[in-house]
Symmetry: C2
Subunit: 402 residues, 2 copies
């Protein structure tokens, strides 16, 4: 007798995203995703911290929410309150800080709370693909504001909001990555931060400030967060431990006014964020934050220099870029008309993977297809040199550049 | 100058759930939620395992998905394949097992993949409140099938499906907790499991088998999972480490055919489940599963006996119940007309918290309001005795029973 198999596709909801394909594994020359450096995972420090924290508080793992309630581990929120004050200029209490599963869950909760189909969201023209996809999955329209070497063009932000207001459209938020912007690596100067906040207040459109990379300034002074300027509740501020510590800890946080926090909590139906890892991370950061982050910054600084030298050597002057003062990624511009998605399959065959620019664009039909994003946190200096050399050969073969 | 505060409620999406209230903290006599016993958290074993695993694989934390791809930690999936074969009769490969953030995320992903507003879902009449709320938030209709001491009445399941078919309605799935059913504590016998599978095949409606409590049978033999009987892809099977190990690990799993798994993966946009805790859990379970789970079962067995004796002593014969062979919860029936939600506030003032039955009912207007759910994993034997004594006094004052 033949097996009567069930065809689940008959039962699927409408408008699902395309099913996932097989996992491609890890490429030898991996320039995608904000991975960190395996060498810099503080194994011994993690072991020491998780041992101490489990001995002290491990019994609490038996009870849902017991290490700080639905907002998450209290020690980690206390660490964040201190860190945000000292390094980002933000003054908040633990009641305004929630721990989530990565900053991605923060974005999900904000979108679940604010977005309806047909809503409008403002972003930088080139921005985090995950934020774009997430808003688009909720059927929101994303409008990209051009960037220059000082981040978002706030003058164009204002004229765009004025234009939308004249059409009766009030966007739900302005999503910005003001520090070590993804993918351009630019930093928004303080005067633009003040101006963006003024525009936010003027138009009644909150700012969603994503500071995933704000720990990673390795060259020059860092600007305070936009949230530090705001005493009017116009800024929702999110951050992550994925870049400063490790993506594998899957921990991020959101700073929000209590009313909207309570509304987001109602949508946080995961019965709490992981409780083991925050024990480890809170203890480790309390004891090692400054020393650890300096090591990470130094490594990224060296790798950025190697990347720039390699691109100069192998791609020559036809590729333009902004030299970032921090972070773990760079954004390379090819001449107009070059489609950077074309060489991707050939590059993979050479063991090299990168992000074609269109995926990081709010308007991929008109902007971004002649860019590539290169993340330099994971590959070693030798892998950066070897990967860029291989990539230049592939681009030469596939699109005639260099 | 007055602060120009932003009123986020003007920006909220429609139909949000009510905002969360302040966290109430932990009550001294806590009979809600599937908490475990703090005494049984294997602190030393956890420290030994996480130390060993971090030394061996900690560097992988730098790279998203590196310990097994988007489906989650490979060692933990390998452990599950062995455990599911040995203890649940299920033969699958690691490619059919995905690690999630608790079984709650499994249910979320299934609902996201299958449910549209207006869809129908079949459940047991009394069932996990989280599953009900989740389906209802996606605007699905839930139809409850009555239970007896052998779990779901599969004869009524079949007549219900026949009736729905005559109206042109094909439910999206049959949600069942066949082993240590939540909240009734009943076990579905093998013949009913076979019959449920036959009905599922007959009507083309898959079974969502939730076996969160299946490790916890402490009295008599355990039945194999419904999934063990199925070679026709009609069963989606989920489970959890929250009850066998600790809620704080926030890890669950789903066993599904590859096609629907790939579709669920496309909706799993959390950029991966926590990677630290699976390292610890996989190593711990690989070395200690049998010994640990025996300790947990013995503890639950003793606590169940104390709970039954306490209820008999303080509530007398007016309260009826089924004596469960496993799990961590019981379901107590008061006489018809008693509203068990009424004494809750007074009970909290005495430090006692319990679940009024209506919250665990698919049809709360007609069924469940004269029941209470008592979870006995967290309180000590003394707290069970003291809590039930206090609860009986409160019920006597508030509803005249006993």
């Amino acid at each position: 007798m033949a097996t009567k198999g069930l065809d689940y596709s008959e039962l699927y909801a409408k408008d699902l995203p395309p099913a996932a394909g097989p996992w491609e594994g890890v490429y030898p020359y991996n320039f995608t995703t904000g991975h960190g450096s395996p060498d810099l995972i503080p194994i011994d420090g993690f072991i020491e911290s998780v041992t101490r924290a489990l001995k002290r508080e491990g019994r609490n793992l038996a009870v849902y929410y017991s290490n700080g309630g639905p907002m998450g581990n209290l020690a980690l929120r206390e660490f964040l309150v201190k860190k945000l004050r000292k390094y980002r200029g933000i003054n908040v209490t633990v009641d305004e800080v929630m721990i989530c599963s990565g900053s991605t869950q923060c974005i999900l909760l904000i979108n679940e709370t604010l977005l309806e189909p047909g809503d409008t969201v403002i972003t930088e023209m080139f921005t985090y693909a995950g934020a774009l996809r997430n808003a688009q999955r909720r059927k929101a329209n994303t409008i990209g504001i051009p960037l220059d070497d000082d981040g978002m063009r706030v003058d164009i932000l204002e004229s765009t909001l004025a234009d939308l207001r004249s059409k009766g459209i009030r966007p739900k938020y302005i999503y910005t990555i003001p520090t070590c912007q993804n993918p351009t690596g630019t930093n928004l100067p303080m005067d633009r931060r003040r101006e963006m906040l003024r525009i936010s207040q003027e138009y009644g459109v909150p700012i969603l400030e994503d500071e995933c990379y704000a720990d990673l300034i390795f060259d020059g002074e860092w600007e305070h967060a936009i949230r530090s300027l705001d005493d009017t509740n116009h800024v929702l501020h999110i951050g992550s431990f994925s870049k400063s510590l490790a993506p594998g800890v899957r921990l991020g946080y959101i700073v929000a006014p209590q009313g909207v926090m309570n509304q987001m909590l109602a949508s946080k139906i995961d019965v709490g964020t992981n409780m083991v890892t925050p024990l480890m991370v809170a203890d480790f950061l309390e004891n090692n934050y400054e020393e650890h982050i300096e090591t990470v910054r130094d490594m990224l600084h060296r790798k950025r220099d190697v990347l720039i030298a390699s691109v100069r050597e192998h791609f020559g002057p036809t590729v333009e870029f902004y030299e970032p003062r921090g972070g773990m990624l760079m954004w390379f511009k090819f001449p107009e008309g070059v489609d950077t998605s074309k060489p991707l399959e050939a590059a993979k065959k050479e063991g090299v993977i990168y992000n074609p620019g269109a995926d990081w664009s709010a308007d991929p039909k008109n902007h971004g297809s002649n860019y590539i994003r290169i993340c330099y946190g994971l590959p070693s200096e030798d892998q950066i040199r070897g990967g860029i050399e291989r990539l230049a050969k592939v681009f030469h073969q596939e699109v005639g550049i260099p």
